[in-house]
Symmetry: C2
Subunit: 353 residues, 2 copies
């Protein structure tokens, strides 16, 4: 009997600039793993939802980082949720839902060690995909970045870039509705800005596409008459530099991402105004969410509570079918109008659009 086939997306070339679908990230057939391949302690997983994240662009590069790069020819790495189809481990049963941080990746099916994946509870309140967003890396990144590094206090002014993005929108809501900060969201386009104000309840939204350079500085000054206490930065580039110029004494700059430069082939200019750190005795700090792995349980309890109380909401941009994942990845960098909420690939839903 011929071996059954599944579909996967492989990293075939290291991208120069934006990853090219079909060249760098290639959707193709691959042997389908089966129950017979399982060793003790392993489970066979049907991947259901895969999420895409800007950090993946870093994993495609051949450089020393907090994780080794994805090897050429390998299935692209990514977080997913799926269901156990067969189990050789007593901790998991057929039908259980699991969160796979990197074990299955951009594939329809995969085999993982049971100890490496996390069993999750699914309910009407909390559907499976939420474990990839508000309760997943997104929510945890917002939670620890804001709380541990940003150290928000009631009445602080916080500025959030990529505020309409997956992480940014969580930060805005937690800062506003849990900590009582004055929240200024930066996003591209009036539609996103309106959403920040109407749906997330931020105090002010700045459209960086409309207000560049001096206009941006003025808009920021108007939105932050008392200066900036916390800047949660997802973008880097010129926006970071402009915010630097308006930070307060003992400000905290949370360096979560620098998406504006991720596809650059030469280094983007750094923030020349970083010397404001001296003048204001301020701090700028980066982090990786896995540093806080021991506290994920406590954080998820908080986040679940805030979801149920309606303090935080989330938006998903659902893409139907794994074949569309390479193209969808580019939405994170503004293509096809950009993403509207966290990108969730509904892996087996090829025929839905």
């Amino acid at each position: 009997m011929a071996q059954q086939q599944q579909h996967v997306v492989r990293l075939e070339k290291r991208p120069v600039g934006k990853p090219v679908p079909g060249q760098d990230l290639v959707y193709q057939e691959a042997p389908m793993p089966s129950e017979d391949d399982l060793k003790d302690g392993e489970v066979l997983i049907k991947n259901v939802y895969l999420t895409l994240d800007p950090a993946m662009r870093g994993w495609m590069m051949d450089r020393k980082s907090y994780m080794p790069p994805v090897e050429l020819g390998a299935i692209m790495r990514g977080s997913s949720v799926g269901q156990v189809m067969a189990s050789c481990d007593s901790s998991l049963q057929e039908g259980d839902w699991v969160l796979c941080r990197i074990e299955v990746g951009w594939a329809e099916y995969g085999i993982a060690e049971a100890s490496k994946v996390t069993k999750i509870d699914i309910s009407d309140d909390i559907p499976a995909s939420v474990h990839l967003g508000a309760l997943g890396t997104t929510g945890l990144t917002a939670y620890f970045g804001l709380i541990e590094i940003g150290q928000p206090k009631e009445g602080d002014t916080i500025v959030v870039s990529a505020a309409a993005g997956a992480t940014g929108s969580m930060v805005c809501q937690i800062a506003k509705h849990v900590f009582g900060c004055r929240v200024i969201g930066i996003a591209g386009g009036s539609e996103k800005c309106q959403w920040l104000i109407d749906d997330l309840g931020v105090d002010e939204a700045i459209d960086y596409k409309q207000d560049e350079g001096e206009d941006f500085a003025r808009a920021l000054r108007k939105a932050c008459p008392d200066g900036v206490d916390i800047y949660f930065d997802n973008v880097g580039g010129w926006i970071l530099n402009e915010v630097f110029k308006q930070i307060n004494f003992k400000a905290r700059i949370v360096v979560c991402g620098a998406i504006s430069g991720y596809n650059n082939t030469t280094p983007a200019p750094g923030p020349s105004a970083y010397t404001q750190l001296i003048i204001t005795s301020s701090r700028m700090e980066g982090f990786i969410v896995s540093n806080y792995a021991k506290r994920f349980k406590e954080a998820k309890e908080d986040l679940t509570g805030w979801l149920k109380e309606g303090k935080i909401t989330y938006k998903e941009d659902v893409i139907h079918g794994l074949s569309k994942a390479p193209r969808a990845f580019l939405k994170l960098f503004g293509e096809d109008g950009g993403n509207r909420g966290r990108i969730i690939i509904d892996i087996h839903a090829e025929d839905q659009d």
Copy 2:
């Protein structure tokens, strides 16, 4: 009787680039204050030693900072030690030595409120000028920047830029001889590098004038085979960017100064490699020594002890006469071969060279 005259240096113009002696900083006659001018609580001070510091360049600029700018036409601000000539306050007597943080400045004589100056003890071990260096802002800056922000632990690798400078040389010695770190000093020129190794006891010295760009990266990698845990930065610019590329997990970058850019008329490029903060979960923090004013006493006790035990030494570059101060200021930015240790102006010694 004609009023007696003294000499002062005034800020007559805001410098563009390096301050020009005789144009921006002007040595001139001024009325000499006398005992008859004293109000209750004030003292008349004969300034003896004035020290020059790169931070003064910032005070000459018309911008919001941790201190108001020096006004045009005013006596240039600066730290000095001097002797009380007459007192209208019970806390100070004629002949007492006092530290004037900013009260007298670049002048031969001045009047200050007694409560604003600090009485100091002079001994054979600890001459007056040391209160402007190892026991003054220099020593305190090194102490709090290294200990509070750098958080050194035994065996940490620390890199110090402008290591042969006043603050840098203190940092090197405290890190090496008090905390037991592996210390790498960066300085310009082989003579300074040799001094770092022979006299301060650093583990490695890198001559940034000899090793630029790729060569510097290689030299740094060789000097720090286990990466960089702490970077005490006095210079900014391309050196900061190169060090960023070699920092370890949870590294601390102490932003003490950015002297490479102080005289720039356009902003120097920022460190494009700052995104290493994300990858390594590292922290970059600025500070002003006065944040720690409440702990100066405790710090001075530690520093005095280390001086007496020989754990730290200091070097002074003594300039004879206030008239030479405007020109001497440029040594801090590399002119006339640069300074060799803290610049001390021996104010009344005009005739000594």
